[in-house]
């Protein structure tokens, strides 16, 4: 059977600078910063206090009344809000009856229901006398976001959750694309979701990987990342299916690549060999040459190690052309949203193609002689973009790169 082409027909997001996709697009072009003091929990005892928190998140206003929010974590609610936006955008909300049996959902997870369960766990440890609300653990597993989406939409296609820390969302998009390409589902809801929570916040602080101010990707004085939260969701669809129903097409998923550093659990391979392998595999899977890439949405966490190895990895793959490709880290605006990062950055990639712009790397003041690519530091740039490479690298050495393309009827060769 011929493989399906896989297109993007709907987008949804909540993050530190936007609670909808149009707002996100404007904020990215304006270079807005969403990193400010965290309020979802008390940071007084922590080393740092800032994060990319979703502001005034009101799930009940974003999710229709007939959807239950019972037992849903903040992560579940963010994923559901982004899913509803994406389905509406795709013209698939409510989900048509004839699609329910086959529509799938693939989510990249992170801390899942940790934020809420931390409070329960603290009650348990400290014995507050109020009793321990064990029922909250029903949404502890990060699988509960996909479970809630599938159950409340009553869809019965393939459902799964990847948890590869900071590359979960990218892998989810890649696998959703595989499912459609190989005729396992005609439409898949995919993306990622991540809440700010104490355990994650303490973990990155314990590793001294957090910039106490705000992250400064690729800057000489970068000191670490800013943690963020949010969700990015895409509706992926077989091209034939999208055409048949006259759907608006944002872009195409051309391919993805996954690799492992096999180097160290928390530190990346300093030469960026694993990262380069993932990028090469993605380009090969997409049938795209290095010459054709117009923009790289970097992993760009702003840790000293990541940004240096990512720069090296890009040079390894692209050679001299590395210097001609705009590379930006949108984590400079929304922080590192971990399990959601690859998915939100996927939304960024599609918006960049659709609205013809390259989002900036903000907070970049001092060039680093070792990180010497075009990091789009002067602000968003208007540009016609056909091909975007989006990088996600994670603890455990889990690297994923995804290639997004402008949709053209002919399915042009991008080589």
């Amino acid at each position: 059977m011929e493989q399906n082409r896989v297109v993007v027909t709907g987008l949804g997001t909540v993050n530190a600078i936007a609670r909808s996709v149009p707002e996100f697009s404007r904020a990215l072009q304006a270079g807005r910063c969403g990193i400010r003091p965290v309020t979802v929990f008390d940071t007084a005892e922590f080393r740092t206090h800032n994060g990319g928190e979703v502001q005034q998140f009101a799930p009940r206003e974003m999710i229709p009344r007939h959807f239950s929010l019972k037992r849903m974590s903040r992560a579940d609610c963010m994923a559901m809000a982004a899913t509803i936006e994406a389905l509406n955008d795709a013209g698939l909300f409510a989900v048509p009856d004839k699609l329910r049996g086959e529509m799938g959902v693939v989510i990249g997870g992170g801390a899942g229901g940790m934020l809420e369960c931390e409070a329960v766990y603290r009650d348990y440890l400290l014995g507050t006398g109020r009793g321990v609300a064990y029922s909250r653990f029903a949404s502890f597993c990060c699988a509960s976001s996909a479970d809630q989406i599938a159950s409340q939409l009553r869809i019965m296609g393939p459902k799964t959750t990847f948890m590869t820390a900071c590359s979960s969302g990218a892998t989810a998009i890649g696998y959703a694309r595989d499912l459609i390409q190989t005729h396992m589902a005609p439409v898949v809801i995919c993306g990622g979701t991540e809440p700010l929570c104490r355990i994650t916040y303490a973990a990155f602080n314990a590793l001294q990987a957090v910039d106490p101010e705000y992250c400064k990707p690729f800057d000489k004085n970068r000191q670490g990342l800013s943690l963020g939260e949010g969700s990015g969701i895409m509706i992926l669809e077989a091209l034939s299916h999208a055409r048949q129903r006259g759907a608006h097409i944002y872009g195409e998923i051309l391919g993805y690549g996954v690799s492992c550093d096999a180097h160290h659990m928390t530190a990346p391979d300093p030469e960026g060999a694993g990262a380069a392998l993932a990028m090469r595999r993605a380009l090969e899977d997409a049938g795209v040459s290095t010459e054709a890439v117009d923009y790289i949405n970097a992993h760009g966490t702003a840790t000293p190690a990541n940004d240096l190895m990512e720069t090296k990895g890009i040079k390894t793959v692209f050679g001299r052309r590395a210097y001609q490709i705009p590379v930006s880290s949108t984590k400079s605006m929304i922080g590192h949203t971990l399990g959601a990062a690859g998915a939100i950055e996927g939304v960024v990639a599609v918006l960049a193609i659709h609205h013809h712009f390259i989002p900036p790397t903000i907070h970049h003041q001092t060039p680093d002689p070792q990180c010497d690519l075009d990091f789009v530091t002067e602000g968003a740039r208007a540009s016609d973009i056909n091909i975007v490479l989006s990088n996600s690298f994670a603890f455990g050495g889990n690297n994923t790169a995804v290639v997004f393309g402008k949709f053209t009827d002919s399915g042009v060769s991008h080589a």
């Binding site: 005892e45 064990y134 479970d147």
Partner: protein
């Protein structure tokens, strides 16, 4: 180009022993791995029993430098991955390490490490939280550790979707080999027993005994009253047929197809009808291009849960409805307990069943809840052409993998 995928090795760290030889002897010999839990004090719980991994010496399989960085789950999965690779006789070198991957499933992963980490956070101060614990808090730690220990840079990912994590991981791994993205993938999964989730499961009334009954695990039995926890890791070495043939390896069996599905369910709860779990099986059958009647044997997911066993039995009855052509069915959690991400152990058991022509007994099953073709005692000299490993999970997620005898 689509390629065929075969199983060339198995690796097991289980309550019934470490390594395929001991495991085979014990599982098919009808032994149970269930004993009083010694990992923590069960004094305050009604449930006291569990199928713990005993007699496991990780030093036998893992180098000291990587071993000291691993949590208990990563030790088990990495040891099982090493065993599967050795069982396959596959040598890793600079020429092939980018084509060898690790794709694991886990349900609870490093949750007990997160609990340890969080304890300091909440009872002392976040500033005293121990950075050494951090790498093992994340669910993808086992696959990351295995890749470092084995030195493999191919596809590496972790499925974290409750009890079907390992079945889904195997489906993903098989698809990667079919598509030519890797030649060999060590896949399956694992989970460990921890006091943290034992406590939570107690509050969800998941564990036997319920309703004043005896504490026992009775899969598919009318008297079942909850499950008993288990732990361990099971890894199968999946390889492209051409790679296996080129090096003269003799596979256990082939991966013939897989199917994934969902059904509406409450949070962490079960669907009310069998449509969801039936769909995963029928999708797997369609992918394998076979009729239900061609399945000879099913390694079921049943764990003694009141509603989950009923759901699975209904789905099996619905999919395999043709009289006289119904498969034999074993539920090996009667011996192994509910190991959560147990699909790797059950796939390894299926590979051993196909190779050795043996069906595993369903310990604890005396009065079947429905007239399916259950295997109560081990049976030998049974030819299995097609076997199905079934996965069902709370929250309404289902995965089935079909394994086929070669030739």
């Amino acid at each position: 180009m689509l390629r065929r995928v075969v199983v060339t090795g198995v690796g097991l760290v289980t309550p019934l022993g470490v390594g395929k030889d001991v495991f085979t002897r014990h599982l098919f010999g009808g032994l149970s791995g269930i004993r009083p839990i010694t990992l923590f004090d069960t004094g305050r719980f009604d449930a006291k029993l569990g199928a713990q991994v005993r007699d496991f010496t990780p030093q036998d399989f893992i180098r000291p430098a990587t071993l000291r960085r691993m949590d208990r789950l990563s030790q088990m999965t990495t040891a099982a991955a090493r065993m599967a690779l050795d069982d396959a006789g596959f040598q890793i070198g600079p020429h092939n390490r980018d084509r060898v991957g690790v794709v694991l499933g886990t349900c609870f992963g490093g949750t007990d490490v997160a609990a340890q980490f969080g304890k300091v956070l909440f009872t002392d101060s976040p500033r005293r939280a121990n950075p050494i614990l951090v790498p093992n808090v994340v669910m993808n730690a086992p696959a990351g550790h295995a890749a470092i220990e084995l030195g493999v840079r191919g596809v590496n990912t972790t499925v974290n979707h409750r009890e079907v994590s390992a079945e889904t991981a195997m489906a993903y791994a098989a698809a990667e080999i079919v598509r030519g993205r890797a030649d060999v993938i060590l896949t399956g999964g694992g989970d460990i027993i921890s006091e943290f989730y034992f406590n939570v499961l107690t509050h969800f009334h998941t564990l036997s005994p319920q309703n004043g009954g005896m504490e026992e695990i009775r899969p598919f039995d009318v008297q079942r009253n909850g499950t008993i926890v288990g732990e361990g890791a099971g890894i199968v070495c999946l390889e492209s047929l051409e790679s296996a043939e080129a090096r003269g390896a003799i596979p256990y069996c082939e991966i013939a197809g897989w199917g994934l599905s969902a059904a509406p369910a409450g949070p962490n709860d079960w669907p009310t009808d069998a449509a969801g779990p039936s769909l995963a099986m029928t999708r797997a059958l369609a992918a394998a291009h076979i009729d239900p009647g061609e399945i000879d044997y099913v390694c079921a997911a049943a764990n003694g849960g009141r509603r989950s066993d009923r759901l699975e039995a209904e789905a099996l009855g619905r999919v395999f409805a043709t009289p006289g052509r119904q498969p034999r069915i074993s539920a090996i959690k009667g011996s192994l307990g509910e190991g959560f991400s147990s699909g790797g152990i059950r796939a390894a058991a299926m590979a051993l069943s196909i190779q050795n022509r043996i069906l595993a007994p369903t310990l604890g099953l005396f009065q079947p809840l429905s007239p399916l073709n259950f295997v109560l005692k081990a049976e030998t000299q049974v030819s299995i052409r097609y076997g199905l490993v079934n996965g069902v999970s709370s929250g309404g997620t289902f995965a089935a993998v079909i394994m086929k005898k070669i030739g």
